[in-house]
């Protein structure tokens, strides 16, 4: 399965699981946005953090 087909399959399954509507014409833009976001996500995931790193879900300045 190509990377594009694999992502399309993921989007389709996620939409069904999350009960989100997904018309065929929306797929290219959703895929584009997901690709961009996953690229950013990979950029973050590639950063080595200690195992005891704590989340900052609510940021306190």
């Amino acid at each position: 399965m190509t990377e594009k087909k694999s992502l399309d399959a993921y989007i389709s399954a996620a939409a069904t699981t999350l009960k989100l509507p997904l018309e065929e014409g929306w797929l290219p833009t959703v895929r584009f946005n997901l690709e961009v976001t996953l690229k950013h996500a990979d950029n973050v995931a590639g950063f080595a953090l200690p195992d005891d790193a704590q989340v900052a879900p609510v940021f306190k300045a």
Binding site: A14, L20, L34, A45, A53, V55, A61
Partner: protein, 466 residues
């Protein structure tokens, strides 16, 4: 005393009204006439609360006639991005969907605080749908138009706030800034904009986007007007649990202290990449005016952008999940498709982004042990054309939308305060960010005031040759 109300500063209007040299009612009528004349071209206002403004102005004049103190913003027209609650209006937040909501029963606290200081609310302002936007375009209400060139973007998502202030409709507006939505329109419209420290100003009764990143703040044509509004809005509020329990720290009396002794550096690395010559020229003017000789690298700034991007996509999708399920056809398709994609980001990535966020915060706070302020571009280029999707830099075609915020994401990501200061380049202005440590808005405003005093930074008046 004769004032050209359209281009008077908030400070000048308030001084004239408080001194009895002008009535709040006359200021209001002049501003309403100006609004009727120019808003069709600028498309900045979505709701005009004319009756309310007239009633409020009349009450101010009556109070002054009775010898009562009215406040430091006496008679100053202002307007707010339409995600702020305004009593009697549905808070649309740039969307079609929210117009079905019941009208707000109360004003947002920041609106109430400005009015308590004597200001006069003129209405709600255009914005990108649900604030997920850097352009100022809106498919439901039409695009906000840049007063310096009506064919160009205001920047967003506080597009109407930028257009209304730069276009001389009001001297003061409020916006919101999740990843840059005050600083981007300030840059593209040539204005001063303050994004305060996360938790400084109450966000109660405003429509959220990404709670852990959302900030509210003022946009104006001078530093002094920013400070006037900011000082009037400070103070805790039980209505927003994220608001810090800190006493107000007024900045107005600090403005003219100059920059002697302040340790200021310019940001390199990420903050130079992707910058067009005009962004670098504006930065250079600021560097020279402030005598900056030190360049620093904000560590992992591009990764901070990525982490903010991921958190935004995921939290934004969470906020709108039910609306996406039930009313997907009523969204701006571009916003809908971003939100649907955001809903599909695995939590694993969001968790990593939140953990990185804490690491990044600690590193940046270390920088402020030896620095008072950092200057960096606000946007990589001046206002693009409305509808423009891409631009070319060094032969590479890149999307406009996501790149407008590349220098603002890494700052708001950890809640740092920043003031955007407009550098009046021709033909279009562009801003530089003055970034300071948490709770030191006073320093950023001081530096902005210094740049304004030396005429390095000021809000240029548009030609209005439509």
């Amino acid at each position: 005393m004769t004032l050209d109300f359209a281009w008077s500063t908030a400070s000048d209007v308030a001084a004239a009204v408080n001194a009895g040299a002008a009535s709040a009612y006359d200021v209001t009528e002049a501003a309403l006439a100006r609004l009727a004349e120019r808003n069709p071209a600028l498309n900045a206002f979505t709701d005009v609360t004319a009756d309310r403004a007239r009633a409020r102005a009349a009450a101010i004049d009556e109070a002054i006639a009775e010898g009562k103190a009215v406040g430091p913003l006496a008679g100053v027209p202002f307007a707010v991005k339409n995600l702020f609650d305004i009593a009697g209006l549905s808070t649309r937040a740039g969307s079609k969907i929210n117009r079905d909501r019941a009208p707000a029963t109360q004003d947002a606290p920041l609106v109430a605080r400005l009015e308590a200081a004597g200001a006069v609310l003129f209405g709600g302002l255009n914005m990108g749908e649900y604030a997920y936007d850097f352009t100022g375009e809106n498919v439901h209400d039409g695009p906000s138009r840049n007063p310096h060139d009506l064919s160009r973007m205001t920047g967003g998502s506080s597009g109407g706030s930028g257009g209304a202030v730069a276009g001389g409709l009001v001297p003061l507006a409020l916006g919101s800034d999740t990843n840059g939505s005050i600083r981007v329109p300030s840059s593209l419209c040539g204005l001063f904009g303050l994004k305060p420290t996360y938790g400084r100003l109450s966000r109660a009764r405003s429509f959220p986007f990404v709670s852990s990143l959302d900030h509210l703040g003022p946009i104006a044509r001078t530093t002094r007007d920013l400070a006037l509004a900011y000082d009037a809005m400070q103070g805790g509020d039980a209505g927003d649990p994220m608001t810090a329990n800190r006493p107000a720290e007024p900045t107005m009396n600090e403005l003219d202290r100059g920059t002697d002794g302040l340790r200021i550096a310019v940001a390199g690395g990420h903050f130079r990449k992707g910058a067009f010559p005009e962004a670098l020229a504006a930065l250079e003017q600021v560097v020279r005016a402030l005598g900056i000789s030190r360049e620093i690298e904000i560590p992992e700034a591009s990764r901070a952008l990525s982490a903010a991007y991921v958190i935004t996509a995921s939290e934004g999708a969470s906020l709108h999940l039910q609306r996406l399920r039930e009313r997907s056809a009523d969204f701006d398709p571009a916003v809908r498709d971003r939100l649907i994609a955001g809903a599909m980001i695995p939590f694993t990535y969001v968790d990593r982004a939140q953990k990185f966020r804490r690491w990044y915060r600690e590193r940046i706070l270390e920088l402020f042990d030896e620095l008072d302020a950092i200057v960096a571009p606000a946007t990589p280029f001046t206002a693009p054309l409305i509808g423009q999707q891409t631009f070319v830099l060094d032969g590479v075609e890149m999307p406009v939308r996501s790149n407008l915020g590349i220098y603002t994401y890494p700052i708001s990501f950890i809640g740092l305060p920043a003031v955007a200061v407009p550098i009046p380049l021709a033909p279009l202005p562009i801003a530089v960010q003055i970034i300071v440590a948490p709770w030191r808005e006073d320093l950023a405003l001081r530096i902005a005031q210094t740049l304004e005093t030396t005429r390095t930074a000021f809000a240029p008046r548009p030609s209005e040759k439509d």
